[in-house]
């Protein structure tokens, strides 16, 4: 799962939901799919929140560009 991409996880989650919504699965299979679905949803949520909100600006230091926090307040407000 860890190696799976967000896209692939989402696709699988969609597939599982559609399968479950057909409603004619044997109970054990349904429960297994459900578990997998919950896991995939959690994975997707984690991916969504993986990145923290951050605003940076690239600043030239010598020949290099270094990301520095961007002070929004200083600029134009």
């Amino acid at each position: 799962m860890a190696s799976m991409s967000f896209e692939e996880s989402l696709r699988q989650l969609e597939f599982i939901v559609e399968e479950l919504e057909k409603g004619d699965l044997p109970l054990e299979e349904a429960l297994k799919l459900f578990e997998k679905g919950v896991e995939l949803a959690r994975f997707c949520y984690n991916k969504l929140d993986e990145v923290k909100r951050k605003v940076e600006i690239l600043v030239k230091e010598g020949e290099q560009l270094i990301p520095r926090p961007f002070e929004e307040e200083e600029n134009g407000s």
């Binding site: 989402l10 939901v17 919950v38 997707c44 605003v55 961007f70 407000s77």
Partner: protein, 435 residues
């Protein structure tokens, strides 16, 4: 003041009820109202102009900045702003502006090279997390974009590559920034942004160096240059064109928000689906359970059922027997009363009675007849001529024909007659007669 403005308006409107003006279109703006606002300019002066929405249908071409146009209209004053402006009734192009011409030329060239081909357009990442913004770090544009990004609370990593967006060297800086971010691997998507302005202001984004850097960028590029009505060549080559910088920020955030919503929905559907399945299974189980009975109870039921049936059967049979025996009794009685023995007796009695009555009748008949006969015989005797004769009377017959004589006239003297007496007869000769 209003009065003065009003007077000025009357003056201008009275003086210029119909004008023909030639100039280059710039600062073209078409807000939601649908009216077309622009500035007509020539090397020396500018004239604000408006085409009201009702008149826009007479435009046979798409009005663009830089176009050299001839306008027919009248001068009026927009009192709230104290501005005079040209109200255009009709307008037609007159050659192209210089920049516009350059624009058209480059556009044509790059189009021929296939730079705008949709097949080159990269889709935006499904989950944009790190966003590179190439723009001026100063001014309203970056501020507005960050405001949008902040307002929506999505966790995004924003990396600004500061550049000059107009003036000498701007195009080179922009191209360099796009190249750098594209290769850096730091971002999922790049937004190239600049606020609105004249065609000259936006010119850097019409430079070939910028357009080509966008084209070769391995990361999807969103162009967000000027207002919605402004088009640069960068817009044509970008993977996606946002109408404004804020709109570009919205697009990225929305993409992520939509994803979150989608996952929320899937999550909900997942739980609903399993709940539904469990409910279905449970209902089915309950149904089956209800149908599943203890066999002993079933046997008991059957037994009871059998006994009941048996009881009913016996009752029915008894009832039938009873009813039939009653009917038999009645029939027997009827039969006995109608026995032929009795009838025979009756018939015999009747026969006897009839026989005896017959005998008696006959005897009576005979007696009656006998009596009658005696009576009649007596009576016959009384009237018998013999009886009369015995009393002294006689009967006279005229001979030879034996005709009974009742009158003397029948007989002539000399005739012979036979006289019958009670005892014997006489033959006489008539000697006389009296009448």
């Amino acid at each position: 003041m209003s009065e003065l403005t009003s007077q000025i308006r009357d003056l201008l409107e009275g003086e210029f009820p119909e004008v023909l003006v030639e100039g280059e279109v710039s600062n073209l703006r078409i807000p939601l109202s649908g009216h077309v606002f622009f500035t007509l300019k020539d090397p020396k002066s500018q004239l604000k102009a408006v085409i009201f929405k009702t008149q826009t249908r007479f435009l046979k071409f798409v009005l663009e900045n830089g176009q050299h146009v001839l306008c027919w209209g009248r001068i009026s004053v927009y009192e709230p702003k104290g501005e005079y402006r040209l109200i255009v009734d009709y307008l037609e192009p007159k050659g192209l502006g210089a920049l516009q011409l350059a624009f058209e030329q480059l556009k044509k060239k790059l189009e021929a090279e296939g730079l705008f081909d949709p097949s080159h357009k990269k889709p935006l990442p499904l989950l944009p997390q790190r966003i590179g913004i190439v723009t001026s770090p100063k001014g309203a544009v970056i501020k507005d974009m960050l405001k949008v990004l902040k307002r929506r609370f999505e966790n995004l990593h924003i990396l600004i590559y500061p550049v000059r967006v107009q003036g000498e060297g701007a195009a080179e800086e922009i191209a360099e920034a796009i190249d750098y971010l594209g290769k850096s691997g730091l971002v999922d998507v790049i937004i190239v942004a600049r606020g609105g302005g004249s065609i000259e202001d936006l010119w850097a984004f019409n430079e070939e160096i910028v357009v080509r850097s966008i084209f070769r960028c391995p990361v999807p590029v969103i162009s967000a240059i000027g207002h919605e009505t402004d088009y640069t060549i960068s817009d044509f080559v970008a993977d996606l064109r946002a109408p404004t910088p804020s709109a570009a920020a919205e697009m990225v955030v929305k993409q992520k928000e939509d994803l979150r919503e989608k996952i929320n929905l899937l999550h909900k559907r997942l739980f609903n689906a399993i709940k539904h399945i469990l409910t279905l299974k449970e209902e089915r189980l309950k149904r089956l359970e209800k149908n599943l009975k203890d066999p002993r109870k079933k046997l008991k039921d059957l037994f009871r059922h059998t006994i009941n049936a048996e009881k009913r059967l016996i009752q029915n049979m008894l009832f039938i027997i009873e009813r039939n025996s009653q009917r038999l009794n009645v029939s027997c009685k009827l039969l006995l009363t109608h026995t032929p023995k009795r009838r025979c007796e009756l018939l015999r009695d009747k026969l006897f009675s009839l026989t005896s009555r017959l005998k008696k009748g006959i005897i009576l008949q005979i007696k009656t007849k006998e009596n009658n006969l005696q009576f009649l015989a007596g009576k016959l005797n009384d009237v018998s001529p013999l009886t009369i004769l015995s009393r002294g009377y006689s009967i006279t017959w005229l001979l030879p024909h034996n005709v009974l004589v009742k009158d003397a006239a029948q007989v002539s003297i000399g005739d012979r007659v036979r006289v019958v007496l009670a005892k014997g007869e006489l033959e006489c000769l008539v000697k006389g007669k009296s009448e």
